[in-house]
């Protein structure tokens, strides 16, 4: 196991360096943010003065080496628009992203997995068809529409929930459902196919022939085996959610990472974009590693490479 972890950590470092290099140069292909920071009436001299003050007039290689040197010290720099350290900005947004991701995953798994089981166990029944229709409808609704619809019904019409922004837990409910209902279909589909796959295997048939009832069969015999694809999807969904849910965050004015990233891209606030992309790369690499380790815990037949 330690050998495996060491090998993967080395790969992760190379991946993150590659991502850092790519994002640094790709962003600068579009120019620099100076024009966006000044009024239309600014003269060329004013624009040049600001560009110089921000350091964007230096050779690109010098800027890149500076960026790498700062990165080695875990310094992601300062936002050129807000003049605040990027870590402060990401740090202030991350808790909201984590809350929304947790809420959405709760909705997605809490509804999606039971529906998946329903679809597998009661295959071809009217209940399963109705559930499949529900899943399809939930996945088909664009969040910019379903979000506003929820706001109009639950906030404006009924007054049950606050329409936007943050505060107590009630603020989290609508964004979690708007986002979670999209992932719900994925979980339902994966859970269904994984269960059907396991149910068709010999050991399941043997258990049935021995008179094991369906609930017990599902819980004791099949659940663990069927959970591997679900864990894979879970890891992918978590990294997607942590990268930000731009539309949901915008509709509900939820101050997550996605919202700040889009604003930073539009404003060419390179430092924030770099910080968020690196965070995303780190989270993706880490979650992949964790899911690999989890496979071996769930299924002892899987042996990690370095552990041999």
């Amino acid at each position: 196991m330690p050998g495996f972890l060491l090998q993967r950590a080395g790969q992760a470092l190379v991946t993150i360096l590659g991502v850092a290099t790519l994002i640094f140069f790709v962003q600068r292909l579009t120019g620099d943010p100076t024009y966006l920071l000044v009024p239309e009436t600014a003269t060329k001299a004013d624009i040049d003065a600001l560009r110089h003050a921000l350091g964007f007039d230096r050779p690109l290689v010098v800027q890149y080496l500076d960026f790498l040197a700062d990165l080695a010290r875990f310094d992601l720099g300062q936002s050129v628009v807000q003049r605040v350290p990027v870590l402060t900005i990401i740090g202030s947004r991350l808790p909201y992203t984590l809350m929304l991701a947790a809420g959405a995953l709760t909705v997605a798994c809490g509804i999606g997995i039971p529906i998946g089981i329903l679809l597998a166990v009661f295959r071809d029944s009217a209940i399963a068809k109705a559930a499949a229709g529900f899943v399809l409808a939930a996945q088909s609704m664009p969040t910019f529409w379903s979000g506003i619809l929820m706001i109009m019904v639950f906030s404006v019409l009924l007054g049950w929930l606050p329409p936007s922004s943050t505060g107590d837990l009630r603020h989290l409910v609508m964004p979690s459902f708007a986002l979670g209902l999209l992932s719900m279909a994925t979980f339902a589909r994966i859970a269904r196919s994984a269960l059907l796959d396991e149910l068709s295997k010999d050991y399941a048939r043997t258990a049935r022939s021995r008179g094991v009832r369906t609930p017990r069969l599902l819980l004791r015999h099949i659940a663990r085996n069927a959970s591997i694809p679900v864990i894979t999807v879970l890891a992918l969904e978590i990294s997607n959610l942590l990268a930000g849910a731009v539309i949901v965050e915008t509709v509900f004015a939820w101050p997550g990472i996605g919202q700040v990233t889009v604003q930073a891209i539009l404003a060419r606030d390179f430092m924030i974009v770099q910080g968020v992309v690196l965070l995303g790369a780190f989270v993706t690499v880490a979650l992949n590693l964790i899911s690999d380790v989890l496979y071996s815990v769930v299924d002892p037949r899987i042996v990690l490479d370095g552990a041999r």
């Binding site: 024009y35 966006l36 009024p39 624009i47 003065a49 709760t106 009924l158 943050t166 009630r170 979690s176």
Partner: protein, 501 residues
């Protein structure tokens, strides 16, 4: 695992049901204002962004201000007199204290002017104040500013010069001042929840009109439909940057109403008249006749905007009554294009960016195509758009839709950058216009200035170097209880509001 998920879901639902809905959403002693984004910075000298502007103008006083009628009025300065063409002396109030209790003096005014005009400080607003070459405190109540020549737009620019406390800024430094600004305005900085809101608390010791609300919260609500929903649900009291369609929704609301105001923003069709086919005056004339401005303002934008025949709005110093533009006449436009022949049929890119109203851009394209031109919309990002538009006559796009605001309500801030060859935006290269612009900039005599700008307007109306389209509106939505008169300079001064139950 599943049990844990179920417990989490139950806890969420229980939390929802435990708190009675609606009751705590809005409090009368707190005004909630929904903006598009959060401020970039609350240091008034280091940003140029409307959302910052809305907030910090309640924290700081300016040397002068504009009243609700749009006229320049005293604020920190009680009066001023022109000592010469290049020197102006201000008498200051002696009863203003900053929020930390220290007195606002001439030293603070001089410090503020020198700070924003220091090229090393690199303020984004430098271009608005760089005509000021010196600031001197004659005594504790008197400040003299020197400009590098007569500068008639000085007072209009000083409306935006916030006075910061010298001692505080020097003690805490630029970055810390941005995070905890200290001003002398009707509200004190309360707190900043990043990405969510900025809270201000009433300055009970304010020297001027006291604010009616003990606290104000400026929230970042990026989606316009959500800002409208907040108003309708009663969780906000004022929302900025709505559009005509959303305003219609508010007209049926029990709680809120649309509050439109015509601004100083001028929408226009920018053209590179050095490039084919727009270097042919007949093509430009055809374009001027092909655009139905009234159809754009009434049909596309909902009737709040007003068509313009000149490149200034009535809110600008330099607006001249009676300037006529060519009336909409599609048949004549078609005939002109046909007369020009194949040259007029070459493809023209109408360059735009997402920030502009694409309904207007598409309407313009359609009108020009109807006249026989071959216009294609080219979408680019705002940064690239700005760079290209300021790149000089050789590379300025052939055609673009633009909206211009100098934030100063003065002709010099609009016409000079768009039409004088000293500016990267300009490409007309018209001697008559350039001389008139220089004359308008170099005299303090209002009548002479107006005559100069009349020349510019008439020249544009005859040569069509740009096509003025309309005076843009700002659509606010407010609670029906809020009494407030918005102004063309798009400021939200909370101490000028009141609440009616």
């Amino acid at each position: 695992m599943k049990r844990t998920r179920r417990m989490l879901a139950s806890a969420l639902v229980a939390a929802c049901l435990a708190v009675p809905g609606g009751a705590a959403f809005a409090a009368k002693d707190r005004l909630t204002i929904d903006l598009v984004g959060e401020p970039n910075s609350l240091d008034p000298h280091v940003q140029w962004n409307p959302d910052s502007y809305y907030v910090y103008r309640n924290i700081f006083d300016n040397l002068v201000t504009r009243d609700d009628k749009g006229l320049i009025a005293p604020q920190v300065a009680t009066s001023w007199k022109q000592l010469s063409d290049t020197q102006i002396q201000f008498q200051l109030r002696d009863d203003i204290t900053f929020h930390d209790g220290s007195k606002l003096t001439a030293e603070d005014v001089v410090f503020s002017v020198k700070r924003i005009t220091d090229p090393k400080f690199a303020s984004p607003q430098l271009g608005q104040f760089d005509k000021i070459t010196d600031a001197v405190a004659d005594d504790a109540k008197t400040v003299t500013l020197t400009t590098n020549g007569a500068y008639p737009a000085l007072l209009a620019q000083l409306v935006k010069l916030s006075i910061v406390p010298k001692k505080v800024v020097e003690a805490v430094g630029k970055d810390a001042f941005n995070l905890a600004p200290v001003g002398s305005g009707p509200y004190k900085f309360g707190g900043w929840q990043r990405g969510v809101s900025v809270t201000l608390a009433r300055n009970d010791a304010y020297w001027g009109t006291k604010a009616p609300f003990p606290s104000v919260v400026f929230r970042a609500i990026p989606d316009a439909a959500t800002r409208v929903a907040n108003l309708m649900a009663g969780t906000s009291d004022l929302a900025a940057n709505l559009d005509g369609d959303l305003a219609k929704q508010l007209q049926t609301s029990q709680r809120a109403k649309p509050v439109p105001v015509l601004t100083e923003r001028v929408a226009y069709l920018a053209m590179n008249v050095q490039k084919e086919p727009l270097n042919d005056p007949r093509v430009r004339r055809a374009i001027a006749q092909a655009i139905d401005k009234q159809a754009i303002t009434d049909g596309v934008l909902g009737g709040t905007e007003k068509p313009l025949a000149q490149m200034l709005s009535p809110a600008h110093e330099g607006f001249v009554e009676g300037i006529k533009d060519l009336p909409f006449d599609l048949a004549k436009a078609k005939a002109q294009i046909a007369e020009v022949g194949p040259k007029a049929k070459q493809e023209i890119a109408l360059v735009t960016a997402p920030v502009y109203d694409q309904r207007v851009v598409q309407a313009l394209q359609q009108m020009l195509v109807d006249a026989g031109l071959n216009v294609k919309i080219e979408m680019t990002d705002m940064g690239s758009w700005l760079k290209r538009m300021q790149s000089g006559p050789d590379s300025i796009p052939v055609m673009a839709f633009s909206r211009w605001s100098c934030g100063c309500q003065d002709a010099d801030g609009v016409l000079f950058p768009i039409l004088h060859s000293a500016s990267g935006w300009a490409n007309a290269k018209d001697k008559t216009i350039e001389e008139a612009l220089e004359a308008g900039r170099q005299t303090l005599d209002p009548a002479k200035r107006l005559a100069a700008y009349k020349t510019v307007h008439e020249r544009i109306a005859s040569e069509h170097f740009v096509i003025p389209l309309y005076q843009a509106a700002q659509m606010y939505g407010t609670s029906k209880n809020l009494v407030w008169t918005p102004t063309p300079n798009e400021s939200i001064f909370v101490n000028r509001m009141s609440w009616k139950d």
